[in-house]
């Protein structure tokens, strides 16, 4: 790479962008599965399950994402798991996303009218079909704007992987900035790429939110 910001540098940023997107996708899918488990446990009838998941959520919502990355990253090494950096970071983001999505979906499940649960029970539906066919489809619909909002948070959050040295978009930006001595230009481009990724999602989230509040009236 040369000393000015050219196509080569832009290509390097795009390479970083690929990792940003990949990390966000892995964390969103993993967090979606984990979050569903957390939300179901939080709304279950078992006191123990509710307490444990409430503690899990409180810890992940009460500490910085950066610390969660550090502790999980170094903690995995301590218990003898030598994982590639991207996997360790992906696990940390997945645990983080599970807590936040779990809390969002818990709220949505509890926001449903009680009659929905009672009617499903009265129809003789057991827990699995009751949740799968009656409760969750409605809850996920209510939770869609907040879920998309969290996805935007998650995409922005992946930039913290840069601090543990993982080369995604933000870290790629730091490297290019050091090589070209044009930090303002580089971080403007990096910011613009994040914006291009997040803004359409934000707009879509607001759009759905407006539509839901209109039909609710």
């Amino acid at each position: 790479m040369g000393n000015s910001f050219g196509l080569g540098e832009l290509g390097f940023l795009i390479q970083g962008l690929k990792w940003t997107v990949l990390l966000a996708v892995i964390a969103f899918i993993g967090g979606g599965i984990g979050g569903l488990g957390v939300a179901l446990a939080r709304t279950s009838t078992s006191w123990g399950l509710r307490r444990i998941t409430a503690g899990y959520i409180a810890v992940f919502q009460g500490t910085p994402l950066l610390m969660q990355l550090f502790v999980i990253y170094y903690g995995l090494g301590l218990v003898g798991l030598t994982l590639p950096a991207w996997l360790a970071v992906a696990i940390a983001f997945t645990l983080h996303a599970s807590a936040f999505l779990g809390e969002i979906w818990r709220g949505a499940i509890e926001a449903l009218p009680k009659g929905q649960f009672e009617a499903a029970k009265a129809l003789g539906l057991h827990y699995v079909p009751r949740m799968r066919d009656v409760i969750l489809p409605q809850a996920l619909r209510i939770a869609l704007p907040a879920t998309i909002g969290f996805l935007v948070q998650l995409i922005k959050g992946t930039s913290l992987a840069a601090i543990v040295g993982f080369i995604e978009l933000a870290r790629a930006g730091q490297i290019v900035s050091n090589q070209t001595y044009a930090p303002l230009l580089v971080f403007t481009v990096v910011g613009a790429i994040y914006f291009a990724l997040c803004w359409p999602l934000s707009l879509y989230g607001t759009h759905i939110e407006n539509r839901i509040s209109r039909t609710a009236r």
Binding site: G62, L78, K156, G157, F187, G191, Y194, S202
Partner: protein, 224 residues
């Protein structure tokens, strides 16, 4: 556990005073950031309702730009941009500005929601009773609006406090950068980061308690 590695928290105990100063740094940074965010938030809402279209658009662009880019990129940008316009500030002041701008963008959206929830008739009634425009804004619009949005605003402020750990990237004086220095001297990464994670947890609980005590005192008046 890999062979030969035993957890050793003694280095953390030795560094405890330094870490506690780091906690104080984080709390100070966060409170300064919140104050600035509140000012930007209220100012932004006033500008957002201005008669002049460019002012309104500028606020919308600011909010969207901040909310759709990572804080890490924002603070790097500021860190390099401020000297370019002749402002050479120390990293901690830069961090406060970055936190204030970031929190301010979210605060604008939250406060705007609260102001919109105020019934127009209340404002008219206030004016009819002979209150000044400023008094109406302060007593009839701002205070009830603040009470309505208090939970989401304070939640956002807790997030801002946690976000302040990212300010270590420009080595502002706060808990994470203090911890990074200790880690690089002792190589006890897990022990150090585990301990300060607990400290952050304590700080956010402390703030949450503070916020709820404040709301019980300040917002204690009949609603209807």
């Amino acid at each position: 556990m890999p062979l030969g590695y035993t957890l050793d928290f003694s280095v953390v105990l030795d560094a405890l005073p330094t870490l506690l100063w780091g906690c104080a740094g984080t709390i100070g940074l966060a409170l300064a950031g919140m104050a600035l965010a509140l000012v930007i938030g209220i100012g932004g809402v006033v500008l957002r309702g201005s008669k002049h279209r460019p002012l309104r658009s500028a606020v919308i662009v600011f909010v969207e730009l901040i909310r759709n880019t990572p804080f890490l990129v924002q603070i790097f940008f500021l860190f390099f941009a401020l000297p370019n316009i002749g402002l050479v500030l120390n990293p901690t002041v830069t961090a406060i500005i970055a936190l204030g701008l970031n929190g301010g963008a979210y605060a604008i959206e939250i406060i705007r929601g609260g102001v919109q929830s105020i019934d127009k008739g209340q404002v008219e009634a206030g004016l009819a009773l002979g209150l000044h425009k400023g008094q109406v804004f302060r007593m009839i619009v701002l205070k009830p609006a603040l009470r309505a949005i208090y939970p989401s605003l304070t939640g956002q402020f807790i997030m801002l406090t946690l976000t302040s750990s990212i300010c270590s990237a420009v080595s502002a004086y706060e808990l994470t950068s203090v911890a990074q220095r200790i880690e690089s001297e002792t190589f006890r990464s897990f022990e150090v980061y585990f301990t300060i994670t607990l400290m952050y947890l304590a700080i956010s609980w402390l703030l949450m308690t503070g916020f709820s005590v404040f709301s019980r005192r300040y917002f204690l008046y009949p609603t209807r």
